[in-house]
Homo-oligomer: 414 residues x 2
């Protein structure tokens, strides 16, 4: 495959956009030049020649010279309009907008197929870690058994500070001051961003297309100081993990949940804004990838790699979606969890398939045990304030108990 | 790119070959079938239909139906004959034979170019970790600053046991009993295997083609009990690291050396037969990949991924080799090392550019300091028995000293 010259229309000139512009200048071997840049505010001073800039999207989308649209704007709705218009004109697109991608994946798949343009978005999941391309190209057989990882840098930064003793509010403020969390952190701390990424991982790992709001999800806002005490006693950390495990029947169990991790698990050492992914496959056993998951340069790194890949006509083949037998999400599956609560929020033992341990005192209480996803979602306490749900490390108390019914579903160590 | 049916001629039916045969049977989605298997010993019982087997290579190499040769035999010379003949007939080849690949890379590049067949060999470096494909596809720009890693599972297993207190001979025996080391371990313990892999990494990372025997190399056989005491005192481990660092002038410094690693460095936690690679690039900062580096299943995993990639017409583009300006190996570079020796093997202080610390007692002595690769190779003690050379962790004593002249060359944390 020979290298093709790319003429880029760039949407957005924030920290990432400006970084990309500079890198493309410094790396002529990429064979890509920025022809026009669409911005919202024409009055802001910019580190690039004034004639490149416009506020009119049409000047990029109707320019016949531009063969690649790079979309790096914050606004998911505006990004949706740009990306779909570009794809409808048969252009190739690079985007890092995971919310847009996860929510509109079916339409974006259709537009690529119908109009022949390709859409690359490595930067949307785990920033600089090349996970989507590896799922497409390297783990493209049926041997992949599970993925579990830290896919959101903001929450991992907050949880890292909390592990050191800071309370949630102070940790969040610190993350915001350092630019690791948004002023409105809801998307991150409630796990929506992680669910978006899990949804993209499911598509590339097993060909499963699912709306992120349909995934079992809990963020980090309900983790209580008592839960941190519990973790510290055991020598564990708490991480926010996106997890997808292939079951024996071929279905896949998926969740975004806080999880206890013990030392020895590579995720234990993924700190601050870093992301990390554990993969398990039948032949290669456990693999681990880590790197910076968010921020100007890691995002720029992934976008530059997408641009370079596109110059060699790379596209996602979505091989697993095109198989005659694609995997399905498991309608129900077993979880091993810790549930923390206080006297005002009683959690009935009967909701659990099995209780491993229970603790009650005047200050509060917890259960550890096995519960089905269905029972968890139906439980009145699942969304109740003052109740925390944290997945247990593999084998932690269960290893001292009879094996749960569907142990196979839990084979991936987290 | 649509999937192409592959008809495979398989050379070798050892543990990996048999594993591949079974996996291809179980995964019809790969679209690959084994048509003939060439073996050396026709009398051994085999877990496959007898009519598949032959001892005559020609029956595979002359079969017009066979469009992919998968070469999995031990003997590097026989493998060389098979692979070059297959490439000369324009066939595609998958191989895991790093010695063959590293030694004959220029010819293998030429044969691919001249006859149009492609050669894939992900299994040759770090077993199940998809490093070559990522260097080709993802880190394919000029931003890659360094690679450093544990690329040999046998020595890492031995060093892991030594860190626990076993002596070298006992650790080696244990590795041999578990199948992690060969009965003749020379290729592994003297660092030749790591040098072969480093040579392949250099080709895919920066387009540098170098014979492995031209790389600065020291194995693990000369590490002394006193060196382990030194490591334990500091809380460090010793690993055998293959390292390549891009210097400010664009040249690359490459070495295979034992290295001290401190906690916090992800390589510190790569134990037993696992391999791990740290990558540093200008935008994505530090990335880390780890997984099983050797053994039946990890090798089979990588070979199956190569077969699958080939079914989608994947080939290494060797993009960096084809650039007008390719990187060169640095003719000389600075190293920060610990040199341990006893009274019978005096190491003169004057060989060092700078001595950070020196220790002498009746039992033995060591220096830590900065030395040029050229001075190291020329030193009488470099190959002397009883003298160990172990690279220092980044910044370990140097951080308490004036910065060395070419600090940029040492920017990759190991």
């Amino acid at each position: 495959m020979s290298q093709q010259k790319l003429t880029i229309g760039l949407f957005g000139f924030g920290v990432v956009g400006e970084g990309i512009y500079q890198v493309l200048h410094e790396l002529p071997s990429l064979g890509a030049t920025v022809r026009r840049i669409c911005i919202r505010d024409p009055h802001k001073p910019r580190n690039a020649p004034a004639e490149l800039f416009t506020t009119r999207a049409d000047e990029l989308l109707n320019d016949p010279e531009i063969n690649l649209i790079v979309e790096l704007i914050d606004d998911a709705e505006a990004a949706y309009a740009i990306v779909t218009r570009a794809l409808r004109s048969g252009r190739h697109v690079v985007s890092a907008n995971k919310a847009l991608l996860a929510r509109h994946l079916p339409e974006l798949l259709y537009l690529q197929q119908e109009y022949g343009g390709s859409l690359l978005y490595e930067a949307a999941v785990c920033g600089s870690i090349p996970i989507l391309r590896n799922l497409e190209e390297y783990y493209d057989n049926d041997l992949l058994q599970g993925i579990s990882g830290i896919v959101n840098g903001s929450t991992n930064y907050i949880l890292t500070q909390q592990a050191k003793g800071l309370d949630y509010d102070a940790a969040l403020r610190q993350a915001q001051q350092l630019g690791f969390a948004e002023s409105n952190p809801t998307l991150d701390v409630e796990g929506h961003d992680a669910a978006n990424k899990l949804s993209l991982l499911l598509a590339h790992a097993w060909g499963i297309v699912v709306q992120p709001h349909n995934l079992l999800r809990q963020g980090i806002t309900r983790i209580r100081p008592e839960d941190w005490d519990y973790a510290r006693e055991k020598g564990w950390r708490i991480v926010l993990a996106a997890t997808a495990l292939r079951n024996a029947d071929g279905s896949v169990s998926a969740s975004v949940l806080p999880r206890f991790v013990a030392p020895g698990n590579p995720l234990f050492d993924v700190r601050d804004e870093y992301n990390g992914l554990l993969l398990r496959s039948r032949l290669s056993d456990r693999q681990f990838l880590s790197g910076k998951g968010a921020g100007r340069f890691p995002t720029a790194s992934a976008v530059v790699s997408d641009i370079s890949a596109r110059s060699y006509q790379y596209k996602y083949e979505y091989k697993k979606l095109r198989r005659s037998e694609t995997a399905q999400l498991a309608p129900d599956f077993e979880l091993e969890v810790y549930v923390g609560f206080d006297a005002d929020n009683p959690v009935p033992e009967s909701d659990f398939g099995e209780v491993y341990s229970s603790y009650r005192s005047e200050e509060g209480a917890y259960f550890t045990g096995r519960i089905s996803a269905r029972a968890l979602l139906a439980a009145a306490w699942w969304q109740a304030p003052g109740v925390s749900v944290i997945a247990l490390p593999e084998g932690a108390p269960a290893s001292r108990r009879p094996a749960p019914v569907r142990k196979a579903a839990l084979a991936l160590a987290v």
